[in-house]
Subunit: 329 residues, 2 copies
């Protein structure tokens, strides 16, 4: 218990004084935050569990802390919301040193500060099993600028940010046991994408602000899963064009060397934390302008929503059902 109090005191010092909208930060029964005028509250939570989502052997703990927040920021981005604050719950096994916990919280606090989502509270407990890192993120969005999964309409085009499959290839590279310093640059980049995904915050916020998409989701479980969700929640079907899926060079290279399937990594690998948008034909110009406005994010049109049910992948004119999860061809 005194360890817990020390830890909280150290975190509190490290966080420093919070921005004006935080009335009460760490150190009371709960945190108190001023809502943004005219905006709604957006709230999401996600966790990283040792030996399920990360391995202490393979990934430095500052990256674990950073990623635990990043995956939540990605959910805010997919709603078009601006980050306001975050909370951290840690369940810590015996034998984890306090400087390791400092690394973890340091990674989180650094990203929290960059993203404008100060750490305002949380909870530390002992774990008789794995290290667990649970983050709740709070955001803010104006009512008519919320991006939902369910707003897609038949005929909308589907756009995805960035390139896919990098995180899956990065994980595979990590698990291969090869020395990091000997991996070539594509794989190093893939590992970075796996360990320190960047939430597409600005892109989500600008697209929401300009009401430039009819639906959005973040790709935590892969492109196929994201397309299924948008289609299902919008009551529609979808077709993905296999040849248009933007595959990261590292994923292609990994597949080439190891006899795997790069498209499979891109569709089913997950953890890329890119955003998938549905965009009406009339809104396309506005959407592309929004993307340009949000920095050098690339977007690629990868398919469309349609009234006929079912989610399909078009491979050279032949439609095949698109499964979710890790897809092998």
């Amino acid at each position: 218990m005194s360890g817990e109090h020390d830890l909280i005191a150290r975190i509190r010092r490290r966080v420093g004084s919070p921005p004006a909208w935080v009335s009460i930060g760490i150190g009371d029964d709960a945190a108190v935050i001023e809502p943004e005028r005219g905006a709604q509250i957006v709230i999401t939570t996600d966790s990283l569990v040792e030996d399920v989502h990360f391995s202490r052997r393979l990934t430095p703990l500052d990256a674990v802390g950073e990623k635990a927040l990043a995956v939540n920021l990605s959910d805010l981005a997919a709603m078009g919301a601006s980050p306001r604050a975050c909370l951290l719950t840690l369940a810590v096994p015996d034998g984890v040193h306090s400087d390791e916990i400092d690394q973890l919280t340091g990674g989180l606090i650094e990203l929290a500060s960059r993203a404008g989502a100060p750490l305002v509270g949380g909870n530390v407990t002992r774990s008789p099993g794995p290290l667990m890192v649970d983050v709740t993120a709070l955001g803010s969005v104006r009512p008519r600028r919320v991006l939902r999964r369910s707003g897609g309409r038949a005929g909308d085009e589907l756009f995805v940010t960035g390139q896919l499959g990098a995180a899956a290839a990065g994980l595979a590279a990590l698990q291969s046991g090869e020395d990091r310093s000997r991996l070539d640059i594509d794989f190093s980049e893939c590992i970075r994408r796996y360990e320190r995904p960047e939430a597409r915050l600005k892109c989500g916020i600008v697209v929401g602000r300009r009401q430039a998409a009819t639906a959005a989701i973040d790709l935590s479980d892969g492109l196929a899963d994201g397309v299924h969700h948008i289609a299902a929640e919008s009551g529609l079907g979808a077709v993905i064009d296999a040849g248009d899926v933007p595959i990261h060079a590292g994923a292609s290279e990994w597949a080439r060397r190891h006899g795997g399937d790069a498209l499979g990594l891109a569709l089913g690998g997950g953890e890329d934390y890119e955003l998938l948008f549905a965009v009406s034909r009339r809104g396309k110009r506005n959407f592309l302008a929004a993307v340009r406005q949000s920095g050098d994010v690339m977007v690629t049109r990868i398919g469309r929503l349609r009234a006929e049910p079912g989610v399909w992948i078009d491979r050279d004119g032949r439609l095949e059902p698109l499964g979710t999860g890790f897809v092998h061809f």
Copy 2:
């Protein structure tokens, strides 16, 4: 993963349609909630970890779900905040059946509905270790009605709700391995208090609304810990009158039978989730009226804050330092 989707679908059906202030509930990237006009956002998180905070062998899972929310509602109560919503993160070990998870979520959803804090989102993951239940609660409070730990002033009297030591005696009774049906009524009540603590929501809200206390905290880690926190955060010392601490009859009986110390259970046992208030002398009448207004909650004056540093317990006129944690005399 399909298990996870099924589980979320079942939870979503069970929660039903949310109240008007929930714009987006379960099923999108994040939940969206309308803030209460003129109010601030209060947010807190707490978790129950198997074999640290509960044992599946000893406690039914619906009680675990209920308690996981109750301990968070207690934090809201200590801030004077009204509940608005909650989120649930579950880390589920292999071998836990879906009907067991239904029991757990059922207990939480039932309390969430009673408390006006609908379940709006969360996250389910596999655990390679213990069952973990993490809840985040969102509340609402008007700026000048927030109860802090830090507002106490020298000369304020300390009041506590309810009777203390019941939860600690309940846990001891559970751990004794005696058949529940053979325990007498005091111990059954103690077990109920341990397993299904009731957050003093109405009391906290009314005291906050009437600005009837200068400081407040909930007693998750015992009375001694709570007094230390209020004193430290207010920059003061405190004296507790040993003879005035309201000890639950079950705690006294447990101590009598097992040669323990009932006052120790009350001071250090924790998990009673009663509220501790600091009340100015001028505000005492207002405070007692607020308590009466909030139902049949008993409150007891147990000590006072003072300028001299240190936290003491007065035993028949002799001051002894008051430690935190489990206290033995």
